[in-house]
Symmetry: C2
Subunit: 67 residues, 2 copies
DNA sequence: CCATAACCAGCAATATATTGCCGCTTTGCT
DNA sequence: AGCAAAGCGGCAATATATTGCTGGTTATGG
């Protein structure tokens, strides 16, 4: 799980919901400029930014012990 | 899932592994100052910082669609 | 083909996480 | 109780994510 992978997950999820970057960014309270960098895996987003996007996209982040 | 919750998870995991903040921070390549804020939920960590800590702690972060 | 929407990326400015330093407090052990 | 280890948190400096702006490129519908 790294930046690039997360970017892909977010982008694919957004597309499957058929919403634009502009709309997602707007609803999530994130700038479209940041969203683009995140989807491209070109930045190291803050947790809150990621959580805001996930919330809108119906995605959940979980942390658990590796078995 | 928010900052506070993540801080608690990290701290409990670290304690269960019986390592100090200093050691964890050192191994993970994160400053102990940041680790403290993160465990306290007082900061909004960057994804990479979180991933570095999780790696050392044997924790994995996953993102999936909410059913 | 044309027009429009959607996406992309460089740049400078701003906001904020991260860091190192320091002294203090709490915890745990003998 | 006394000591040492571990944790805590303010502060200023630094690094870097985020933002708004701008102009360009690519996809898409009529």
């Amino acid at each position: 799980m790294d930046q690039k992978e997360i970017g892909i997950i977010l982008k694919e999820r957004r597309k499957s919901l058929k919403i634009t970057q502009l709309d997602l960014a707007d609803i999530a309270g994130v700038s479209v400029r940041s969203l683009r960098d995140i989807e491209k895996g070109k930045t190291n987003p803050e947790l809150e930014t990621l959580l805001n996007l996930c919330k809108v996209l119906g995605l959940e982040i979980s942390i658990k012990v590796i078995k």
